[in-house]
């Protein structure tokens, strides 16, 4: 530590190089902190559970061709019977949408049917009594639908359902005291109320965009089968038999009725595919940020090695003199390490401020969250260690300079 003064004096003679290294450390810190933060946000998002058991689950999207919208209900019923009786199928359900599908139906939830503003938003899943076992959603209170509660309705005249099952997230939002079970809610302004007969632990909405963040866990299940041109089937296979069901299910559907289109793209998917496609851009962004971090750190390290090597080369004579005057190898080594630490500290102080500033700007421009100080601290430690690591090789070379150098060519 007593070396600090001479180090500072020496650095004053290398202002440009010192400032450049510090600046590079500062910029790297600012970018790496924010990049790591973005990675964490994206990873958080794509690791959100849907509330379903996602193994052994698959989805089919079906559209009818040449059949009146009103006449599709019996066809869907027949499809579901076929799917449920297929060997290897545990259960199946017809629904308008499912978590991460991308498109769905959303409504405002009210406690007062004439309130102008709803309390919150919810997505509606139009299903039957097989939805919970097929999805693997966990019922934590109340009961499932009964088969006799399931009705078919034309979406044009849909208003509400006498009974609904809602998610815990929605229940807590509408009834913060936890008394949702058995209560009445209104899902359409001015329409009859619905009784909450069951609460499931979690079920995500179909959307994963930022706009849905506010209500991503607010789902309502209704014992209603919608007639119409479009339907989606969720199918749970017996354990380990997903691959065979994936082939058998669409084949069986086409065998029963050819008046349909199952798109070649996204028509038949395992749920793992659904999840991967829904979060592909988030994952891509996280990977890109990761690559940028690694490359930036590597470049900064290489820059430090390069500049320190040059300084060592330049100061061989001085090092020789110091060695001749009694400095140990360890003294020389710690001289360069301390020098780097000082520059590094200067860099990270500026860098931490830059990181926070950059985050504030990103918050304004890109709806980002506030950077947690943990990232700045982690970044500071990483960069200081990186600097010490990078300087080690040139510093050891410096320590090997023999005292004899002092006597050469003077």
């Amino acid at each position: 530590m007593m070396q600090i003064k001479p180090i500072l004096a020496a650095l004053k003679r290398h202002k440009a190089g010192t400032i450049l290294i510090a600046l590079q450390i500062a910029l790297t810190l600012a970018i790496v902190c924010n990049a790591l933060f973005i990675i964490q946000q994206r990873v958080d998002r794509l690791s959100r559970p849907t509330g379903m058991i996602e193994t052994d689950l698959m989805a089919i999207q079906n559209r009818w061709v040449g059949i009146d919208d009103e006449a599709t209900a019996p066809l869907v019923k027949a499809d579901i019977q076929i799917l449920r009786s297929l060997p290897g199928v545990e259960d199946a359900v017809s629904t308008n949408s499912f978590p991460l599908r991308g498109g769905g139906w959303s409504m405002g939830v009210r406690l007062n049917p004439t309130a102008k503003k709803p309390i919150t938003q919810t997505t509606l899943y139009f299903v039957d009594d097989h939805a919970l076992p097929t999805m693997g959603a966990k019922l934590i209170a109340g009961r499932n639908f009964r088969a006799d509660e399931v009705v078919t309705i034309d979406p044009k005249v849909f208003e509400s359902s006498p009974v609904v099952i809602i998610t815990k997230a929605l229940a807590d939002k509408v009834f913060p005291d936890g008394s949702a079970l058995g209560k009445q809610i209104y899902i359409t302004e001015g329409a009859p109320s619905s009784t909450v007969i069951g609460i499931v632990e979690r079920l995500q909405v179909p959307w994963n965009g930022n706009f849905a963040n506010k209500f991503e866990g607010n789902s309502t299940l209704l014992p209603i089968q919608l007639s119409g041109n479009f339907s989606a089937y969720l199918i749970r296979s017996k354990p380990g038999q997903l691959a065979s069901v994936l082939k058998a299910a669409p084949a069986a559907l086409f065998k029963a009725n050819r008046m349909r289109v199952i798109p070649s793209e996204r028509g038949v998917r395992t749920y793992a595919d659904v999840r991967e496609q829904a979060y592909k851009s988030d994952r891509g962004m996280a990977i890109l940020m990761g690559i940028i971090c690694v490359v930036l750190l590597a470049i900064t390290a290489a820059g430090i090695v390069g500049l320190t090597s040059f300084w060592v080369g330049q100061r061989r004579k001085q090092i020789g003199v110091r060695r001749a005057l009694g400095a140990t190898k360890h003294d020389i080594l710690s001289y360069f390490l301390t020098e780097n630490l000082l520059i590094g500290i200067g860099g990270v102080v500026v860098g931490a401020m830059l990181a926070v500033g950059m985050n504030l700007w990103l918050m304004q421009q890109f709806e980002m969250a506030r950077l947690s100080p943990v990232y700045v601290i982690a970044g500071v430690i990483v960069l200081l260690l990186l600097g010490q690591g990078a300087v080690l090789a040139p510093a050891m070379r410096a320590a090997r300079v023999s005292p004899v150098e002092a006597t050469r060519s003077v």
Binding site: L20, Q24, L27, I31, F158, V261, A302
Partner: protein, 435 residues
Amino acid sequence: MFGYYLDLALRSLRRNKMLTALMVLAIALGIGACMTTFTVLHVLSGDPLPDKSARLFYPQVDPLDMDGYEAGKEPERQVTWIDGMNLLKAKRGERQALMTGGAVPVQPTQSSMDPFFSDARYTTADFFPMFETPFLYGHGWSEAEDDGKARVAVISRSLNDKLFDGKDSTNQILRMKDTAFRVIGVLDNWRPNPHFYDLNMGQYSVAEDVFLPLATSRDLNLARNGSRNCWGKGGGNDDEHLEVATCVWLQFWVQLQSADKAADYRTFLDNYSKEQKALGRFERPSNVRLSNLMEWLDVNKVVPSDVRLQSWLALGFLMVCLVNTVGLMLAKFLRRSGELGVRRALGASRREVFMQLLVEAGVIGLAGGVGGVLLAYLGLWLVRLQPADYASLAHLDLPMLLITFVLAITASLLSGLLPAWRACQITPALQLKSQ
């Protein structure tokens, strides 16, 4: 002299291969990252109709009730059937078209082909001349066919290839939703980017395969796709009665020849809103907008925020790479103080030494630029593997290629300035003495 400097530069670069490689690599990485993201940004913020975009306008009126009214808030981004039809029939622009997206079940006559759904656009006659769609065969329809709810269709080249093996299919019959349509036109390849006329359908999606008169689509109650916002009594679940529903679900475009005409049109919109308010249809005070095509893309923030974020990050990345290069060059040039001292003592002026060092910096920049272009090609290839609907558009064009080189060389010359200036400050006498 330049040749001599070049020779000196190459010798010096060869002397310390690791350092040279590091500098070139840093510049190449920075340039490569920047050019990849900038190319994507450039492609995505391009003008879909460069010759015409200044004359195409998207009017907005405010048909909502007083619920949640805030003065000066942006009005709805689509129009109701009634307003759309009123504006269309008023014919205040040179051309105007009303439209919405949809999907139609196509039933091929060939037994070998299963029915399939095609994206469709339900629109009015002026769509084709206004957006200057290229026709391979035939032509669009006229107002008479709009009014007569004619069963006519214009199809895309790819659908024509699929159904009619690419032959001239005009006057052929195309069955959709159990109805026979007569093909009257086949579009040549047409993919405006972004998909500006309806940004709800995926901002960079391909143009639709089937174009039908809007009135026909309503007559047959064909399925529609896109955004729909309802208020008040709404009636939004019922696709059959959208004509009377208090919902906005249509896009309206108008072509206006000059700025004067645009000002006139704005006045017309304002008067229209006031008139509708007087009639009791509108409740809010007149609040109209008229954006031209590029302004409309801005309003809709078409360029994905991830792409803009990546561009800024790449720029930051390039800055770190440049600072790194400045540092390394500084080290390198100062290390050669002895050699430079000798040159100065032998009569080279400060200017000449400075030039010599700048040539060396330029050579590094050129090498970095070449590396950067290669990396940009690699980067864009990776971008094209992404699932985003704009991915296939990411290609390096000639202007971007030139910009890449200019950027690389400017960047490295700039980063060479400080080190070269520092190095030529050396007093020759001092250097010679210490040798």
